[in-house]
């Protein structure tokens, strides 16, 4: 036995010992009537409840039903102390007897997850506990065993009038009848509300449970009516059915395991089917296990975290109230976790088997999810790289403008001053004029360089203004058709500008066009930029590095670039850039 199993060993030993109580009392008993049935079936009931309870406890740690059944077994064994000839022990057993049934019905109502499902159920169970403890204790104070059927020991708690005790006892029995009848109704309704395989698993335990309840109800009616003989017969019948309850529960468990095995083999068969949709496995598992809310979380070792089928992070902890998490491993390595509704009371072993059967497919889907998460990361980092390179270009342009360019301008003005002071020295004037021309060239080249790095009009005045300046400076007539625009996000503006600039450069260099047009419009959350010319066409994005670079640049902001350039039919370059 491993971990949790080992902790239950002492409980198992205590259960075996508790089961021996009625047997030993029966053997030691000298009473003529002997209570043989209780002495024989008593141990069986204890062992069956404790054993089945421990099994369920191990199998379905998420459900409290196992613990509750173990408790019923122990309370039952205490109630068998009524076999004792010692008055005090007898009364302990007497006090525990109704508690056994309340605990049993509580367990049945809380089936299968260990929780009561409605306010009515909680009120009913609470009333039953009060009736079985406080009210029953009251009854015990007036109960005179010597006045009843023979062979019972004296009641050390007896304080008063047995007549009053009898009346009290009947009243309690009447209340008990009502409570038990209500429980029977609830159990029967529960049975018809259960779905499919769950219903088949619940049926045996609910049926035997309801039968115990019905027999108890009849016994209570007989008690109220004072039908002592009928009471005896009903007690025996109830004892036999009670002993069957744990086995009925086992049968249900077994059935769900068989059904589970069928689910696993069906799943394995379905795993072979081609799945075209992303996360198809999640649907298949949800159907196989009958939980539409079932989800798979894929383990990403690089992130030390889980992602869903779309690559989105799954919040930890995976296990939450109302949700069970079963890890799936492959070759000793964690690959995923299956999350399902705790209400369903699925066998953890079954879910593990399903996970193992699907582990190859799970591993594939995990790799898919990992890939998607990586792609998202790459996309974000690419966008960041483009943004930071834009920022760097803007800074360099600004530095050029503020530094070298300003100094050269000052130098030009200074040379101009010098010129006016030279007077008639024609040779020097000519030399100076040559220097000034040279300086003009240097300034022009520097301006061109700055504009190529990042046009100042773009950062200061925005896309519309910079496109206008592009159109104006182009060596051919360029018509600008742009809606007068508000400022757009920086990365959108700079991407659109670089596309337009590169496309116009290509028009001027290769197209032999007589006319070009820049169109800029907003369309369903996108900015669409179109550069059209009437040139020779035949531009191929795969051939030149210019268009290739544009493709990358546009893709970095999740946009797309189309080049339509039939030979002889002009060229259209169209960039579509997301811009919410």
């Amino acid at each position: 036995l491993k971990g949790p199993g080992r902790a239950l060993v002492p409980i198992a030993i205590a259960g075996v010992a508790a089961g021996c109580v009625p047997l030993l009392l029966g053997l030691a008993g000298e009473r003529a009537d002997g209570w043989p049935l209780l002495a024989v079936l008593g141990p069986l009931v204890t062992w069956a409840f404790v054993g089945t309870g421990l099994f369920a406890w191990l199998r379905r740690p998420a459900s409290r039903v196992g613990q509750m059944m173990v408790a019923v077994g122990f309370i039952w064994s205490v109630s068998t102390l009524t076999l004792s000839e010692d008055g005090r022990l007898f009364m302990v057993g007497f006090l525990a007897t109704p508690l056994t049934y309340v605990a049993l019905f509580h367990t049945l109502l809380a089936f299968p997850d260990g929780r009561l499902h409605s306010r009515l159920e909680r009120v009913l169970v609470a009333t039953a506990y009060v009736s079985a403890t406080v009210v029953h204790l009251g009854v015990a104070l007036f109960f005179d065993p010597l006045g009843g059927p023979g062979g019972l020991p004296e009641n050390p708690l007896l304080v008063g009038d047995p007549e009053l005790g009898e009346t009290l006892g009947r009243a309690r029995a009447a209340l008990g009848t009502l409570l038990v009848a209500a429980m029977v109704v609830i159990l029967l309704r529960r049975r018809s509300a259960a779905k499919g395989s769950q219903r088949r698993a619940l049926l045996p335990v609910l049926a035997t449970g309801a039968l115990v309840a019905a027999l108890l109800a009849l016994w209570l009616v007989a008690r109220v009516g004072g039908l002592t003989e009928a009471q005896r017969g009903l007690e025996d019948a109830r004892l036999v059915v009670l002993a069957l309850v744990p086995f009925a529960y086992l049968a249900g468990l077994l059935h769900s395991r068989v059904a589970g095995a069928a689910a696993v083999s069906e799943l394995v068969a379905r795993l072979g089917e081609p799945r075209h949709r992303r996360g198809g496995l999640q649907t298949v598992l949800a159907e196989a296990l009958g939980d539409p809310s079932l989800a798979i979380a894929y383990w990403l070792p690089a992130r030390s975290g889980y992602v869903d089928v779309d690559g989105n992070e799954v919040e930890l902890p995976l296990e939450r109230p109302g949700r069970v998490c079963v890890p799936v491993e492959s070759g000793g390595a964690r690959i995923a976790a299956i999350l399902y509704d705790a209400e369903l009371d699925l066998d953890a072993e079954l879910v593990r088997a399903v996970g193992a059967a699907a582990s190859l497919t799970l591993e594939n889907e995990r790799l898919d999810a990992e890939l998607r998460a990586k792609v998202d990361q790459l996309r974000a980092s690419r966008a960041r790289i483009v943004e930071s390179s834009d920022a760097a270009r803007r800074r360099i342009e600004r530095d050029l403008h503020d530094g070298a360019q300003q100094r050269l301008v000052s130098l030009a003005l200074s040379l101009k001053m010098l010129e006016s002071k030279l007077g008639g020295n024609t040779e020097a004037v000519a030399e100076l004029a040559a220097s000034r021309r040279e300086l003009e060239h240097a300034l022009a080249e520097l301006r061109e360089l700055g504009r190529g790095i990042h046009p100042p009009v773009l950062s200061d005045r925005g896309l519309g203004a910079v496109l206008e300046s592009l159109a104006h400076r182009a060596p051919l007539p360029v018509e600008l058709d742009a809606a007068p625009g508000e400022r757009l996000p920086e990365r959108v503006e700079s991407t659109a500008y670089f596309v337009a600039a590169e496309a116009l450069t290509n028009v001027a260099r290769y197209s032999r066009a007589s006319h070009a047009r820049i169109g800029l419009r907003r369309e369903d959350g996108h900015v669409v930029l179109e550069i059209t010319d009437d040139g020779v066409g035949g531009a191929d994005p795969a051939a030149g590095s210019g268009l290739r670079g544009l493709l990358d640049r546009v893709a970095a902001v999740d946009g797309s670039l189309e080049v339509d350039s039939p030979a002889g039919g002009g060229t259209v370059v169209r960039a579509t850039i997301p811009c919410a």
């Binding site: 403008h401 003005l413 200074s414 001053m417 301006r447 046009p455 300046s469 104006h472």
Partner: protein, 118 residues
């Protein structure tokens, strides 16, 4: 003598420009490094001419906007935009602004200014 206000964020250029303008017969009444100083000087000194840099320091309003504010003053100066960039880049913008015209900084001269002045 025509009174002039020079608006530029580079003090080195302002000094050089003042020398050129004064040698060519203008009276430079003030220099301003940013838009606010320019408006204050224009209000106080009422210059006839303001030379305004197109791209003032980062975060500042552009010369186009400053030209509009100066033109809105009572007794406004004639505004001429100047820049170390070349005029073709913002030809349309300059034409649409309230400025009289544009002179590249390196070509600052009486001839270029008088061509644009009323």
């Amino acid at each position: 003598m025509v009174s002039v206000l020079i608006v530029d964020d580079h003090s080195g250029f302002r000094t050089q420009a003042r020398r050129v303008l004064e040698s060519e017969g203008y009276r430079v009444v003030s220099e301003a490094g940013d838009g606010e100083a320019a408006i204050a000087a224009a209000r106080a000194l009422r210059p006839e001419l303001a030379l305004v840099d197109v791209f003032l320091a980062e975060g500042e309003a552009t010369g186009f906007e400053l030209a509009a504010r100066l033109a809105a003053l009572p007794e406004p100066p004639a505004v001429i935009l100047i820049s170390s960039h070349d005029g073709a880049e913002f030809d349309t913008l300059a034409r649409e602004s309230r400025a009289r015209g544009f002179v590249p900084k390196a070509q600052l001269s009486r001839a270029a200014i008088e061509e644009l002045r009323p």
